[in-house]
């Protein structure tokens, strides 16, 4: 692929990486969040501190981990602590600036479902469950959500509220006791949504190149609020794409030879 073209996944990773400030402490999950955080670290944010929930603090993996507890995360970490400690002293202790989350379902207030489709007692689809998400969402100073936009994911009503966003909107999160600000950005394959300052309803504020508002509305399961002024996501620069593709190639080569 020439340097000037890019995939949706690449754009999402680049856009998520742009949200991270140099020096941020970032609680990272596997997949796109890990790609985005390491991309930021390898480009504009060399002092980004990556924490994985397996207990590695300040890890600097050369290739992307395939699991949250890959060996390279420990080898390149400043410190390795127990899982109870990472959740108590570091996440709950208020040391995390940015938490990344995804989900199977999201509602207009950024609440997340990763538990079941259908009823809890007789689920149609049993999903993996909460993992670290409820406390990441509550304790990280900010949360970034990354997920692909379609009406089955962006739903009018969650089948199950696993992880809090802005709850029922307005000041309901502020009253809940959650210490962090909540999901400040939802980065999708179509654009970016941000909470309304008052109602906290997620509002389309940015479109990826070539995407129009109707396409985003069609991919959203509720009547989507759209900002008056819509930004357009800048196309990734050649350099960041090169770094991203190198990282992915290194990762693929390393994992192919890992057995």
């Amino acid at each position: 692929m020439p340097d000037t073209e890019f995939t949706n996944d690449e754009l999402m990773a680049v856009e998520a990486a742009r949200c991270l400030r140099d020096g941020d402490v970032c609680f990272v999950g596997i997949g796109l969040p890990s790609t985005a955080a390491n991309l930021a670290r390898l480009t504009h944010a060399p002092n980004l501190v990556l924490i994985y929930e397996s207990g590695t603090i300040g890890t600097k993996p050369h290739v992307l981990p395939l699991s949250i507890g890959d060996g390279e995360l420990a080898e390149t970490a400043d410190a390795v602590v127990s899982v109870p400690e990472i959740f108590a002293y570091w996440l709950q202790g208020g040391r995390v600036d940015v938490g990344f989350l995804g989900a199977a379902q999201l509602d207009r207030y950024g609440n997340l479902n990763t538990t079941v489709i259908g009823s809890y007692e007789k689920p149609r689809t049993r999903l993996p469950g909460a993992g670290g998400a409820p406390e990441i969402a509550a304790s990280a100073k900010e949360v970034l959500l990354i997920l692909k936009q379609d009406p089955r994911t962006f739903v009018e009503r969650l089948d199950f509220l696993t992880t809090p966003g802005y709850l029922s909107g307005g000041d309901s999160r502020a009253r809940s006791g959650a210490k962090g600000a909540g999901p400040v950005r939802v980065i999708t394959d179509l654009g970016v949504l941000e909470p309304d300052p008052q109602t906290k309803e997620l509002t389309l504020t940015q479109l990826h190149p070539g995407v129009d508002v109707d396409r985003v509305r069609a991919a959203t399961g509720w009547p989507l609020k759209v900002a008056e002024q819509l930004r357009v996501t800048p196309a990734p620069q050649a350099e960041i794409l090169r770094v991203l593709r190198d990282l992915k190639a290194r990762t693929a080569a390393a994992h192919a030879s890992s057995n």
């Binding site: 596997i30 060996g71 420990a74 970490a77 538990t115 809090p164 959650a178 210490k179």
Partner: protein, 275 residues
């Protein structure tokens, strides 16, 4: 006076310490998952277990699919980086091969519950579950007020399994065990359980104390078993890497009941016990 860890074969240790109906925690957070021990539990036909693990992973998918479990206490039940645990899903969604009761937590709560168990406290306190509907479906999550500020927090009961099983890199002659790299909740699992078994890659005369390593004294372990490769297809830092291809392949193997059963028959039931 506590007993010292006895050097047993894995078959002996499982036979002696894991009983039908027990609450059993096989821990290892992505790293050092005690697969060989789980397979031995399956081979010995244990039933009605309450399985405890933050991330059930493939090992509990196999144990659930083989009918060992009555109940699962967990916080994230997926195939890491791949997708679903199909045997876990089949048990929850369709009751196959038997219904599976679940007690579901978040990672933070489960980690705190292990630490509370290790501390012989009846419960753990955390800033947790704020706004989450898990509270409605799990009677083991309650609210507790700070006796000083009145602030409301979450409480969960301590985990106190009958048996904990972990895999580690090394044991020395005395039976002390060295874990290096990501240590997860293994120390807590050992200390909160009534009995604890460690399988190890090798016995050594003396530990080299690599960075990021912890030592578990022999007198908090019931048995130490030599099981090289005992964490495969997960990994053992310094010994072998994670078999990512198998994790991907498991998605196909486990999707179908018959293919799963045939694979387990061939690869677990007929496999020799570790001597």
């Amino acid at each position: 006076m506590p007993a010292r860890a006895e050097r047993l074969t894995l078959a002996q240790a499982v036979s002696r310490y894991v009983k039908d109906g027990d609450t059993v925690a096989l821990e290892g957070f992505t790293h050092l998952i005690p697969f060989a021990a789980g397979h031995e539990v399956i081979r010995q036909g244990r039933r009605d277990l309450t399985l405890v693990r933050m991330t059930p992973d493939l090992i509990y998918d196999q144990m659930i699919g083989m009918g060992c479990a009555r109940k699962l206490i967990f916080s994230w039940g997926g195939n890491p980086g791949v997708g679903s645990l199909h045997r876990f899903r089949d048990a929850v969604e369709n009751g196959w091969p038997r219904p599976l009761e679940i007690e579901e937590h978040s990672h933070a709560a489960m980690a705190a519950a292990y630490a509370a168990g290790a501390s012989d406290l009846p419960f753990a306190v955390l800033r947790g579950y704020i706004g989450s509907e898990l509270i409605k479906h799990n009677a083991h999550i309650k609210e507790i007020a700070c006796p000083f500020s009145g602030e409301r927090l979450a409480a969960v009961p301590a985990l106190r399994p009958d048996v904990a099983i972990v895999h580690a890199q090394q044991a020395n002659r005395a039976g002390d065990v060295l874990i290096s790299g990501i240590a997860g909740v293994q120390k807590e699992a050992i200390l909160c359980a009534s009995q604890a078994i460690a399988t190890v890659e090798e016995f050594v005369d003396e530990f080299a104390h690599p960075p990021h390593s912890i030592v578990i004294p022999n007198w908090v372990l019931s048995a130490v078993c030599l099981v090289p490769g005992g964490a495969k297809p997960s990994y053992a830092h310094g010994y072998y890497q994670r078999d990512n291809a198998f994790y991907i392949e498991w998605d196909k193997i486990s999707r179908d009941r018959d293919r799963f059963s045939a694979w387990m028959e061939e690869n677990v039931m007929k496999a020799p016990a570790h001597a």
